[in-house]
């Protein structure tokens, strides 16, 4: 009961933050709305029992990545977004499009009757740090390490692009 109420509250905050992110015209306001989305997602993870993922969501996304976003916006002193003809077309075509897509997905989820398959959770404490670590570093070690190589490539790309010519 409490879980359901909390889920609805944080789900609504999350959606409201996402809508505000699109509506706001100043980049700082948009970035801060994204922080709200990240934080409420972390709380939803916490409600699911995934405590480690929730903490990492706050530390990495809300804490580190979004601070860098805000930092860059502050540094560039970006002004308000301009409304052009293109953005008006996007508004009139995009909003009904998204609404239709969301409607179709919701309809499918409601009427599929469990054909899409579900997730069975083996134990009640699957979200504990120990269990997440066991999955990451034993069962899914190869995909995990490959992802880290991918991130390394991205970092090297950033270094190459950002290096000063001399």
């Amino acid at each position: 009961m409490v879980h359901q109420v909390l889920f609805i509250v944080f789900g609504l905050i999350c959606v409201a933050g996402a809508v505000n992110l699109l509506v706001q015209r100043h980049p700082i306001n948009s970035a801060l709305s994204l922080v709200v989305v990240m934080a409420s997602l972390a709380l939803i993870y916490l409600l699911l029992g995934a405590e480690f993922v929730a903490a990492i969501q706050v530390i990495v996304y809300a804490g580190a990545i979004m601070v860098l976003f805000v930092f860059v916006i502050m540094l560039l002193n970006a002004g308000s977004e301009e409304r052009t003809r293109g953005s008006r077309i996007a508004l009139f075509v995009g909003v009904p499009g998204v609404a239709a897509l969301a409607g179709i997905v919701a309809w499918l989820l409601v009427h599929s009757g469990g054909q899409l398959g579900g997730v069975t959770i083996s134990s009640s404490n699957f979200g504990e740090t120990h269990n997440v670590a066991r999955l990451l570093f034993r069962d899914f070690l190869l995909p995990f390490e490959v992802t880290s190589v991918l991130i390394l490539i991205a970092i090297m790309g950033a270094v190459v692009l950002g290096r000063r010519e001399n």
């Binding site: 801060l32 405590e51 804490g63 580190a64 805000v70 930092f71």
Partner: protein, 356 residues
Amino acid sequence: MDTKTFIIVAVIKIALVVFIMLTGVAYTTWLERKLVGRIQNRWGPTRVGPFGLLQPLADGIKFILKEDMIPDNVHKGLFILSPMLALTMSLISIAVIPFGETITVAGYTTALQISGVTHADGLISDINIGLLIILGVTSVGVYGVALAGWSSNSKYSLLGSLRASAQMISYELALGLSLVGILLLSGTLSLRGIVESQSGTWIGFVPRWYIFPQIIGFFIYLLAAFAETNRIPFDLPEAETELVAGYHTEYSSMKFAMFFMAEYVNMFTVACLASLLFFGGWHGPTFSFLPPIAQALLPVLWFALKVFFFIFLYIWIRGTLPRFRYDQLMAFGWKFLLPLAIANIIVTSLIVAWGA
């Protein structure tokens, strides 16, 4: 335990901890002015009360009564939000810090920790991810500083907050990595669990505190913590000689006081964390001849003494060292502390793996 007792106990604990915390913060400002005064051959505050002891009270009244100005052309919402954000985020981390083992009042045993709960079988536990919560809350607290500078619409504030956010992001990495060694040794992220794994002694008399195996980690933590809290020698975000007052230049009255309090609460948080992780938290000598209530509160005294030591160290260093240059600060964090922290993790994990 029924819900009603749980809520009553929780509210009492929260009120007590917040009261003690804020009083501690107020008297740390007094202590700082006194000590820095003595270091510089001055007296510090002497006029208000004996030894100037009522000075924090007078300061508080002054902050409340001063005119609360909002300059023109600021981003009003964020200008008001950011001091609140800074103070709230710094106060949240106190909720997961354990001050002692347990205390029994009127037949009811509870943990000396806001987020510690008593289970039906009498076992005490706290949040599994206490340490991560502190790191997460600290990283969200950066917004308070960053947005304060940007929303003020002033060049000094903006430069101060750019410096602050860059510095805090950089040193957060070294801070987090310096704690990994402890996690490897203790095998838990719960602060209560980490403190309990430090009970007992090595070879009879050396306490099993993690300062001994993790001395490198401790020094990395200490340096990174100074930078995280924007204290001398890393107080570039508010370097008076260049930036007037840094990110809080445009703030006055209670809004300024909120930043000020947030800084001191953060100091307390990192001091508590250092005592918990490296100095065995509430562990210390026990005396069996004392009355039971004194025996129950003795661990809290040991913990308070350890925290006081770190606060004293902060003030001492403030009175002793000059400020770094900005490029030196960045180079020190990225090129020295970070590689050293990674090397510390590799050596510790090799030793742990060899012993397993």
